[in-house]
């Protein structure tokens, strides 16, 4: 019975986190874009516009969810839930603070990369079932995109796995107690980090790799026909996905909830320890999220063939060589 209660509490917390993260991230995106575009952004609803996304959610809730004629009704309605469930499953192994992890699975990062491949299914489903040519083209694009970028994302994760010698997320974090991998690992880890950021930006369909929805080409791509709450679910899943991949980035390269320590500066290190571990975790994650948003509001979009060229001609060969380098570093113990 206690186990059951635990399940219920964990589930409720997850859903709550989901909703809050969605609201916060959408607001953050709008504010970041506004300041980069010399605008003010939302500033009417609530203090400094803080309740704007809540108002938008209420609007989306009250809107009619249309299903276009000729659509495969069952699959059309299923797609947003697949997107949502896939994302929700990803929350399980993420440690939000020291010892605050829902499920310390021994194959943590492998689990993440496995379950995140569900996202592509939801996009393919949505694109196909909408009976819309834009959606179909968007789905085709994102299929090709996600399947290829999973490779280099996986390889850059493997780089850290090689250094740590474990797939478990808690082990990976524990291995960074004396310094984050981004500082300990020299150039190869930096290369892995850059590849990782590029690959996950592509995997989450964010600009400059937002070809699946490319608004100037395909109006809205795979979710052209979605409206109301069904659209909101896609939207939410996209933002939570960003949070999750950034959390993984923070765990792999920035030590998750590990505070920042410098060698033997005992005083400094102690001060750093006073900052709660959850602050460290969310700080790092949100920094990475900001970087990804920064990309979006700076760069033009790539074309589909350039996108695949980038992966197959640049990222994949580089990260393959990089894995070899990392192995060398790990075997010879060159890292600190």
């Amino acid at each position: 019975m206690a186990l059951f209660l635990e399940f219920v509490i964990a589930g409720l917390l997850c859903i709550g986190l989901f909703a809050i993260l969605g609201l916060v991230l959408v607001l953050m995106e709008r504010k970041v874009s506004a300041y980069m575009q010399i605008r003010l952004g939302p500033n009417r609803v609530g203090p400094k516009g803080a309740l704007q996304t809540l108002a938008d959610t209420l609007k989306l809730l009250s809107k009619e969810g249309l299903t276009p004629r000729g659509a495969d009704r069952f699959l059309f309605n299923l797609a947003p839930f697949v997107a949502m469930i896939g994302t929700m499953l990803l929350l399980a192994p993420i440690p939000f603070a020291k010892g605050f992890q829902l499920w310390d699975i021994n194959i943590g990062v492998l689990y993440i990369s496995a379950v995140s491949s569900l996202a592509v299914i939801s996009i393919l489903l949505a694109g196909w079932a909408s009976n819309n040519k834009y959606s179909l083209l968007g789905a085709m694009r994102s299929g090709a995109q996600i399947v290829s970028y999973e490779l280099s994302a996986g390889l850059s994760i493997i780089a850290i796995v090689v250094l740590t010698g474990s797939l478990s997320i808690s082990d990976i974090i524990a291995s960074q107690a004396d310094g984050w991998w981004i500082f300990k690992g020299h150039l190869p880890v930096w290369i892995a980090f850059v590849t990782f950021i590029i690959a996950v930006t592509a995997e989450t369909n964010r600009a400059p790799f937002d070809l699946a929805e490319a608004e100037s080409e395909l109006t809205a791509g795979f979710h052209t026909e979605y409206s109301g709450m069904k659209f909101a679910l896609f939207f939410l899943a996209e933002y939570i996905n960003i949070f999750i991949v950034c959390a993984i980035g923070a765990i792999l390269f920035f030590g998750g909830w590990m505070p920042f320590h410098i060698g033997n500066w005992e005083g400094f290190n102690r001060i750093m320890d006073y900052i709660p571990s959850s602050v460290w975790f969310f700080g790092k994650t949100f920094f990475l999220i900001f970087v990804i948003m920064w990309f979006r509001w700076t760069f033009p979009r790539l074309r589909i063939d350039q996108l695949l060229n980038l992966e197959w001609k640049y990222l994949l060969p580089i990260s393959m060589v990089n894995v070899l380098l990392i192995t060398l570093v790990a075997i010879l113990g060159w890292h600190f």
């Binding site: 575009q37 495969d72 179909l136 080409e217 109006t219 033009p300 074309r303």
Partner: protein
């Protein structure tokens, strides 16, 4: 599911871009035939905002019809009005005071910068970068403000009238233009940082939408589109009107023929316009801003044609007069229409993303095409 009307016999996908589509900048309807992502054919369908301005003008007097041309190419409304005024003046055979000529050229060049700045932002948005659009509007707002002060309107000016300009310059005009020039010069470097030198942008533009010199001529392209293919067609140089014969102006030519060449030509044209403004702004001759004309204008029986260089290319006004108060027939030669006709040639064999880039590089203003 898609078999109803969406396919050709060879199994290619037919897809509608527009009439309502984010990248058509208005209600342009393109029917494109796709093989996968590759464009096989582009068919523009026009007429969604046809307002028969030419026919309407036949019932308006020679003072009245000019206002309607602001609503054709609304981004170069000054220059459109200028062309009409020139055509009427050609028939009236009036001498325009030099001050009016200088004001007209100044306004025309400011309009060109305002139009190109907007195009720059819109092109960046077409290829997926949204931020430059807002930065472009910062500069454009300054121009709009200073034009509003003199002309009384921000978009549809109706400032040029047969015989000169409607009002004299506002006393603040020179100061504000100087302010704009210094501001614009400090910001133009940002344009390069954000877009011009961006590797993704260059990749999206280079080698895309190529049109050769011969093809550009045979499609009747004009303006930056033709000049990017090496066709010398700047009306300001070839058939100088008003004060253009006396100012230093370089015709910007490029032989790339692709989207990137068109981009570079327009960027350089902004610099040229800026230099024309700098030459004129401190040397505005004093005098009247309008020649004396009769209260009711009547053109002698005959045919009149005048052309000006708008931000998009050659704009021609053709008037047939029967000697009455209203023209017998008016025909406008709008640059956008001819430039659009080349889109099929440019986009064949390219990707959908390229089609959007090509549309952006043509700088289409749909009311200019439909009239």
């Amino acid at each position: 599911m898609l078999e109803e009307i969406g396919k050709t016999e060879e199994g290619d996908l037919i897809i509608n871009i527009g009439p309502q589509h984010p990248s058509t900048h208005g209600v342009l309807h393109l029917v494109i035939t796709l093989n996968g992502e590759t464009v096989k054919k582009v068919e523009p369908h026009l007429g969604y905002i046809h307002r028969s301005i030419e026919k309407m003008s036949e019932s308006l007097s020679y003072r009245q019809f000019i206002y309607a041309t602001s609503r054709m190419d609304y981004l170069s409304s000054h220059i459109n009005n200028h062309g009409c005024a020139l055509c009427v003046e050609q028939g009236l055979e009036v001498e325009i005071p030099e001050r009016a000529q200088v004001i007209r050229v100044l306004m025309g060049e400011l309009t060109r910068i305002a139009s190109h700045v907007l195009w720059w932002g819109a092109l960046a948005m077409d290829v997926g970068a949204i931020t430059p659009f807002f930065h472009a509007f910062r500069e454009r707002e300054l121009l709009n403000d200073l034009m509003e002060e003199t002309c009384g309107a921000r978009l549809t000016m109706n400032y040029m009238v047969p015989g000169g300009v409607m009002f004299d310059l506002h006393p603040n005009f020179q100061r504000r233009v100087h302010e704009f020039i210094s501001m614009f010069k400090s910001k133009i470097g940002e344009y390069d940082e954000l877009v011009t030198n961006n590797a993704i942008f260059i990749n999206r533009m280079k080698g895309v939408g190529y049109i050769s010199r011969e093809d550009a001529i045979s499609y009747g392209c004009s303006g930056p589109v033709a000049r990017a293919s090496g066709v010398s067609c700047d009306i300001r140089k070839l058939y100088p009107y008003d004060i253009y014969g006396k100012v230093q102006l370089e015709e910007v030519l490029d032989d790339g023929g692709d989207c990137y060449a068109r981009y570079i030509v327009r960027m350089k044209e902004m610099q040229q316009s800026l230099s024309v403004i700098e030459q004129l702004i401190d040397n505005i001759p004093s005098g009247d801003h309008m020649a004396k004309t009769k209260a009711v204008l009547k053109l002698p029986k005959g045919e009149y044609y005048s052309r000006v260089e708008t931000a998009r290319g050659e704009f021609g006004v053709y008037i047939v007069s029967e000697g009455k108060m209203t023209p017998y027939r008016i025909k406008y030669r709008s640059p956008g229409f001819s430039n659009l006709s080349a889109i099929d040639h440019m986009a064949r064999g390219q990707k959908i993303g390229d089609l959007v880039a090509i549309m952006g590089s043509l700088d289409l203003v749909i009311p200019d095409i439909d009239r």
